[in-house]
């Protein structure tokens, strides 16, 4: 009996490991192979404090958790701007360094570790047998599960997933990606430290072999098997991989040595096969115990006519999702473009915050903006104004620097000189997320939707001022968070309906046709309710019918008093939309005026089309 219970204990410990890694790897998309090392920090802390100072389990765990969190932050800091392969390298280095430290430190017991970690007590009760440990482990595992679920399946978790999908796009919606990443590293390391402490207690010793690179890999395997972004999956993965031990030991009757090897082979096989067959793991993203239960129950009963949207994930009524076109991209263009055009003309623009200014007021003013890359002049002495309720266009031949202007305005690139003033505030030198906060957002030429998030989630992320997107609001103001979430949900649907994509709300954005993605991206940008909207080639890469829809929507926005600036190469479209046009050549604005004025000038024609 005790043996079986000790397996349950192992499952609980590794569930904690896997759940915490899932938050980092599955939700936030940060690849880390250092998880066991974080556990080592916690585990050794508990062991050391107990053996040297007789510290009990709970206080020992607290210290372990805090230390692990600190280590997590130290590792997370350099990780902030790293791409995947370098992140792997960094966490690998961290794992090796930490393990080497514990293996070679004389007061940490060297290769054999710290032995005799048994007889710790909790609230006065000594923990001696597995059945003593079980309630403690269970409670802590449940706490971790609830914590991870609250973080992952919430507005906060949605931001994490946005970071995973596309950091740049996430930043452009006003999210401070660095803070999120750092926090997640700290939190997951802390939870790993907790698991490490429990692991040490279960084994009665703290040794390097418990926290080796192999162990980190095993935890990765559990997360991958269960599925990234999937909490039940992590528990399932932990269960399966832990139970491999008794399976190989007793069921297949291997010698202990062989069993150990086969178990490890199984981990490797799991990783390879899952990648080959189903990289997203066993269960779909967003599976929590609640949803799994509901789904299982729903299978027995008749499908409910509607379902309550769960926190952080939108579960639309079944009919609505089914009525959405089954084959994304398999659109009947004629029929649907017509329907969409109808919508674009008759759809209601959601009530936005009414700006206090009048049409024609200068909302954005740029003076002397310059940027060089090495010897190349990307922008020189740019002076521009964007007025409320107008559409301003930036045109120019290839290499004129139009996209650079957007990058400079939104803070993606730092200017060498010049000032950018938005609604009277100087925003020069601010980061993209800060600029978005101040009221200027941009769309991207290559769209950059969050492919594995639903169209609705894509748009909800853009809605500003959600308390649930920050840890403080998430835990301390649950009521406000829920209310804000419901409001955001409704508003996002309104914006999707404005662009005609509400029937696609539940579909993953990556599954939509390119034109549909552009519309979702437009809804996303508009949902920020920013004063100034910069659209980078809104009509490119889509067929004429979609272009019509897009242009119509942009004109509607102008009617409602929004300030819009577009970069476009299709001069036909520019002529139709632009109230004011800036002509750029080689990084300089060489002319401005109405489109008719500019096309009348011979010199500009020569600059654009070349001379014979």
């Amino acid at each position: 009996m005790e043996l079986q219970i000790s397996y349950v204990n192992s499952i609980l410990i590794f569930s904690i490991f896997a759940l915490s890694l899932n938050l980092l790897l599955g939700y936030a998309g940060q690849v880390s192979v250092a998880h066991a090392a974080f556990g080592a920090v916690g585990g050794y802390s508990v062991a050391f404090l107990f053996l040297q100072h007789g510290v009990d389990l709970l206080p020992g765990l607290v210290v372990g958790v805090v230390l692990s969190a600190l280590v997590g932050v130290v590792v997370g800091l350099p990780a902030l701007r790293l791409s995947t392969e370098f992140l792997i390298l960094l966490t690998l280095a961290a794992q090796t360094i930490i393990l080497t430290l514990v293996t070679t430190s004389s007061n940490l017991g060297g290769t054999y570790g710290l032995q005799g970690v048994s007889g710790l007590s909790v609230f006065g009760r000594k923990l001696l047998k597995p059945s003593d440990l079980l309630p403690v482990f269970l409670v802590l595992a449940v706490v971790v599960y609830l914590l991870v679920r609250r973080l992952g399946e919430s507005p906060y978790g949605r931001v994490l997933r946005g970071i995973r999908e596309d950091e740049v796009a996430c930043r452009s919606l006003g999210k401070n990606v660095f803070t999120y990443k750092l926090t997640v590293f700290g939190v997951t390391a802390a939870m790993a430290g907790l698991a490490g402490g429990l692991f040490v207690v279960q084994n009665g010793l703290a040794s390097p072999s418990l926290f080796s690179f192999d162990q980190s890999t095993a935890i990765v395997a559990m997360v991958i098997l269960g599925g990234t972004g999937n909490l039940v999956g992590s528990i399932l993965g932990a269960t399966v991989l832990v139970l491999l031990t008794p399976f190989f030991d007793s069921a297949l009757n291997f010698t202990p040595e062989r069993a150990a090897l086969w178990r490890l082979i199984a981990y490797g096989v799991v990783l390879v096969i899952v990648m080959l067959v189903r990289p997203q793991g066993l269960l779909p993203e967003g599976t929590t115990l609640l949803r799994l239960g509901r789904r299982l129950l729903a299978r027995r009963a008749t499908p409910a006519p509607g379902s309550v949207p769960a926190m952080g994930g939108v579960r639309l009524p079944q009919q609505q999702v089914r009525s959405a076109l089954v084959e994304p991209g398999g659109l009947d263009l004629d029929r649907d473009a017509h329907a969409l055009t109808e919508l674009a003309h008759h759809g209601d623009l959601p009530d936005t915050v009414v700006s206090t200014g009048h049409r024609g007021d200068v909302v954005l003013s740029v003076s002397g903006l310059s940027k060089r890359f090495g010897g190349v002049v990307a922008a020189e002495d740019l002076n521009m104004e964007l007025r409320q309720g107008t559409i301003t266009a930036l045109v120019g031949p290839n290499g004129a620097g139009k996209t650079t202007v957007f990058n400079l305005l939104t803070g993606a690139i730092r200017p060498d000189a010049g000032r950018v003033t938005l609604n009277g505030q100087d925003i020069s030198g601010l980061r993209p997320d800060q600029v978005a906060d101040k009221g200027m957002v941009r769309s991207f030429q290559d769209v950059r939707v969050f492919p594995r998030l639903s169209a609705l989630d894509n748009v909800i992320l853009a809605i500003q001022g959600q308390p649930g997107e920050h840890v403080g609001g998430l835990f301390l103001r649950p009521g406000a968070t829920s209310r804000a979430e419901r409001d955001a949900h409704d508003k996002a649907l309104e914006w999707l309906s404005f662009v005609g994509m509400d029937s696609m709300a539940g579909l993953p954005a990556g599954a939509l046709a390119f034109g549909q993605q552009k519309l979702v991206a437009l809804a996303r940008v508009l949902a920020t309710e920013a004063d100034v909207v910069l659209l980078d080639e809104p009509a490119s890469g889509i067929d004429q019918q979609w272009v019509e829809v897009m242009l119509g929507l942009i004109e509607q926005l102008r009617e409602k008093g929004r300030t819009i600036c577009i970069v476009e190469h299709n001069l036909h479209d520019v002529g139709r939309l632009a109230d004011h046009t800036y002509f750029m050549e080689l990084g300089r604005i060489t002319a401005q005026g109405s489109f008719e004025e500019l096309t009348g000038e011979k010199r500009l024609a020569e600059a654009y089309f070349g001379t014979a």
Binding site: V31, V33, L77, P78, R81, L82, S83, T84, E85, F86, I88, L89, L90, L92, A93, A94, T96, I97, T100, L101, T103, T104, F213, D214, T217, V220, A221, I224, E257, R258, L261, W262, L264, I265, Y267, G268, V269, V270, L271, V272, V274, M275, L276, P279, D446
Partner: protein, 304 residues
């Protein structure tokens, strides 16, 4: 910790040269694979280890001379490397789109674990495998001792590094490999099939790794775990030198790492010296300027 004496310094220098040459070979081999194909080939540990085991096995079973066992082992490693690229990485890259880098890394990790434990299983009755047919010898030159194996190790490593450099610079194959590495789209334009080049690169890289494995096993015997530490050192060397650098440059970085690691034994216990190496890696990755071309680009030829 050794005391800081000239004798110790010289002996550590010798040790550093030998170790550094090994790191050089590994760094060049791994760097070649990664820079040309973009695959984060963690399973390098497997082709490395199987080379040593097979060399030992054929030497034992067929009484082959040392050099022949070495070649058999290295060739076997090359075969496995090519097979992994052809049957695992290529299909994965084809269906994973933008996620290819991560998917291939995870699969590679899985292969590494599988491989290591399958080897342990296959040779479960042998505690460790020796490479037969080689008798070492020591030479005392003044205060330092050189070993025959150490000299061979250094010479072979550098011969291979220089050979690769020559092949890349002067031969048609080398030109094509460099073309694919430098500009995969343009390589397509001149009619190169990158897939074939990848196979060649995996063969070369795995062969070089295999040679290093056999030499290392001649010194300390083959063990299932033997591939991991050398691979980690290969990471350090390859990334510090910069992916796509000339083999000689990568080699020199490897040599420097070996020297720095051994010299630090003058100031600290040798148990801590590997920390120095990984500390360098950590600091480098943390502080390096914003990345140039990410590996992602390599895995998507012919895109907009």
């Amino acid at each position: 910790m050794s005391s800081v004496t000239l004798d110790n310094f010289l002996q550590l220098t010798v040790a550093g040269v030998v170790a550094g040459s090994a790191y050089a070979l590994m760094g060049v081999a791994f760097g070649l694979i990664l820079s040309v194909t973009g695959r984060f080939h963690f399973a390098f540990t497997f082709t490395y280890t199987i080379s040593a085991y097979l060399a030992s096995q054929v030497g034992e079973s067929y009484g082959l001379p040392f050099w022949l066992s070495l070649i058999v082992g290295a060739v076997a490693g090359a075969v496995f490397g090519v097979a992994i690229e052809r049957f695992v990485y290529r299909p994965l890259a084809a269906k994973s789109g933008v996620y290819a880098l991560l998917v291939i890394f995870v699969a590679s990790l899985g292969l590494a674990i599988m491989g290591r434990n399958l080897i342990a299983l296959a040779w479960i009755d042998s505690a460790s495998k020796q490479i037969t047919g080689f008798t070492n010898a020591g030479y005392n030159i003044g205060p330092v001792t050189l070993t025959k194996l150490g000299i061979i190790h250094v010479v072979v490593a550098w011969v291979l590094v220089l050979l690769l450099g020559a092949v890349l610079t002067y031969t048609g194959l080398g030109r094509v490999v460099r073309a694919v590495r430098v500009n995969p789209d343009m390589a397509l334009v001149v009619g190169v099939d990158p897939k074939t080049v990848y196979l060649a690169v995996f063969a070369i890289g795995s062969f070089m790794g295999g040679v290093e494995a056999v030499l290392s096993a001649t010194q300390t015997a083959a063990q299932p775990d033997m591939g991991f530490t050398p691979l980690f050192y290969a990471f350090v060397v390859a990334f510090l030198a910069g992916l796509g650098s000339h083999p000689v440059r990568v080699g020199l970085v490897g040599l420097s790492i070996g020297l720095v690691e051994n010299w630090s034994a003058l100031f600290m216990s040798s148990r801590w010296t590997s920390l120095v190496v990984f500390g360098i890696l950590f600091v480098y990755v943390a502080l390096r300027p914003v990345q140039m071309v990410s590996l992602r680009r390599r895995l998507r030829p012919a895109q907009a």
